[in-house]
């Protein structure tokens, strides 16, 4: 075996070059700059004397308010993911197993239809439903069921409702592919061996669809914790999340360093989740090398 043969560049590798460059330019470079800004006292491009500092991170750790914001962000992400999974799984299962082509197409259209409208529009639609003068409260009041409007907006519940509506399609589409690849004969075999349909589902289908559950949950959680428009509009700034705080630091406090530090924290949370996902997937599928 000659060494030249092993070191010769693969011609196909050149095709990866544009995407690698794009990835480096628009992903690694901005994140690298953000990480750098988070440990500097100012912007070295426009300021003459800039030094390294840990003050932005110290501020976050030193004030429980920021830790509360981080926890609120994670909590909203977790609840959104859980609700999206509970709504999305049965729908995905139905879509994967439906025999009629027309039925499948209709279900797919129903799932995709909300994605054809912008997030802002969909969130405003929820505002018209959930506000004090909105459809829900006005209907309940006109029916005499409530005297005062229910507090449906400016709560975490309101934000979760809006986020679930937006992210359920991501969960459904991820799950449908995985569930669709599960051999139905496995369930039939379990039932032939005396398992009830529920037990067959719990012991055969559910474990086999775990990779889809994990992938969908990862996607929805990552999108939910980084959401900005929906928490701002449905939370009315009374529910503070990391993306809102980052925007506030950039747009009103002009503190790029602290905003960058908050961004890095958000990134670290997402990375930890990806690592945990890979580990879980490895354990579930028995593919230890994924770790």
């Amino acid at each position: 075996m000659s060494s030249t043969a092993t070191t010769r560049p693969n011609g196909l590798a050149l095709f990866i070059l544009p995407s690698a460059l794009l990835f480096a330019l628009f992903f690694f470079l901005p994140i690298g700059l953000m990480a750098l800004m988070s440990v500097l006292t100012g912007n070295p491009v426009v300021m003459p004397k800039v030094a390294f500092t840990a003050r932005h991170y110290a501020r976050m750790v030193g004030d429980p308010y920021y830790l509360e914001v981080i926890w609120t962000t994670i909590r909203i992400g977790l609840v959104t993911t859980l609700v999206a999974l509970l709504i999305g799984y049965p729908l995905a299962h139905w879509m994967a197993r439906i025999k009629s082509r027309a039925g499948h197409a209709l279900l797919l259209m129903a799932v995709l239809a909300p994605m054809l409208t912008g997030i802002v529009v969909r969130t405003f639609a929820w505002m018209t439903l959930l506000s004090d003068k909105g459809v829900v409260n006005q209907t309940l009041m006109s029916l005499g069921l409530i005297a005062q409007p229910l507090k449906l907006m400016y709560t975490e519940t309101g934000i979760v409702v809006g986020l679930v509506h937006i992210y359920v399609p991501f969960m459904v589409l991820t799950l449908t592919g995985v569930i669709g690849r599960i051999d139905e004969r496995l369930e039939q075999a379990a039932e032939n061996l005396g398992a009830s349909p529920l037990r067959a589902f719990l012991e055969v289908t559910l474990p086999l669809s775990l990779p889809g559950i994990l992938a969908g949950s990862l996607l929805v959680f990552a999108l939910a914790i980084s959401a900005y428009v929906t928490p701002i509009l449905l939370g009315g700034f009374q529910i503070m999340t990391l993306p809102i705080l980052i925007y506030q630091q950039i747009s009103a406090n002009f503190n790029v360093g602290f905003a960058a530090a908050l961004g890095i924290v958000l990134l670290v949370i997402s990375l930890m989740l990806v690592i945990a996902y890979n580990r879980a997937l490895g354990l579930v599928s028995g593919q230890r090398e994924l770790q």
Partner: protein, 352 residues
Amino acid sequence: MMKALGPLSRRRFLTASASLGIGTIAAPYVARADDPTLRITGWGGKWGEIMKAEIGPAFENEFKCKLQIDSAFPYLPKLQASSRSAPIYDVMHTNSNEQWAAAEMGLVEPKIDAKLVPNLADVYPYAVSDKIVGVSIFTSAIGLGMRTDKGYGNITSWKELWDAKYNGVRGGYVIPVNSLGQAFLMMCGTLFGKGQTDLDAAYTALEKLKPIKIVDFTGAMEKMLLSGEVGLCVIHDSGIYRYDGQNQPTDFVSPSEGVLSLEQVLTITPGSKMKELANAYVNYMLRPEVQKRLAETVWYSPANKKVKLDAKYDAKLLTTPEKVSKLIQVDWKWYNERKDEIDQRVNRIFRA
């Protein structure tokens, strides 16, 4: 003759068409390529419309230049990210609190040179006071906005906002990001404490304002007031008066304790390569005819004393020294020095 031109092949036809198309599209740009460009900031909405349709083109024609207007707020982070020697803007138009922050960072010049801007001699004192960086070209009065169809009666004081009958229909702002909210916080110090800088009194007062519906932009507050989602709120007079003639059940209240000033301020960036044009623009914006046109479009009170508005506008806007004397200006330098501390506190106060 036809032979001399040769046959019109498909390739020739396509080439000629493409050249003609590109030429047509590029012609205005090529023709103006030599014109100097003044990069400024400005609001959207009605302000943006009239700037684009009338005020901007008139300036371009008179000064043989091109006006490039950025109306994508926020402006200061963009200026902050650009080079000091080649800033993204030549003239920055924004509210006073941001201008102070920009001046503290050395991103804008703290004062306008009166020798280069002759119209500066005609402005009310508040427009160039020690509370202003650059020059205020207009101001709005921050007071209370109310629904007139809810039987609230005659409201005369800021303190009525704390009345329990407005629970559920009270409106305010996200203080960390909104100038009106920040000015109102200072007003709370004056109303319930020793003055604007009495933050403890202000925080206590803000606690007692809950429940309150808060928004980030005044436009959102206007919509909430119009829809009846809020009944009494902090707002600037322009936010009410701009619906004049639409028969809306809303009105502006100038509280007896005085109205807060929401200044529209122009500053020039130190690194601008268009200083002469920048000063000309500031001077142009202070011209009585320009001030009158803009004031009567967006309901801002003009800073130039010589402006004579039509009776309808004159009756409501701050157009005399007596009316202008009601304005309370905020010490934004003091506020900005404590902004982080204030933000942390008010974020806690208003969280659900």
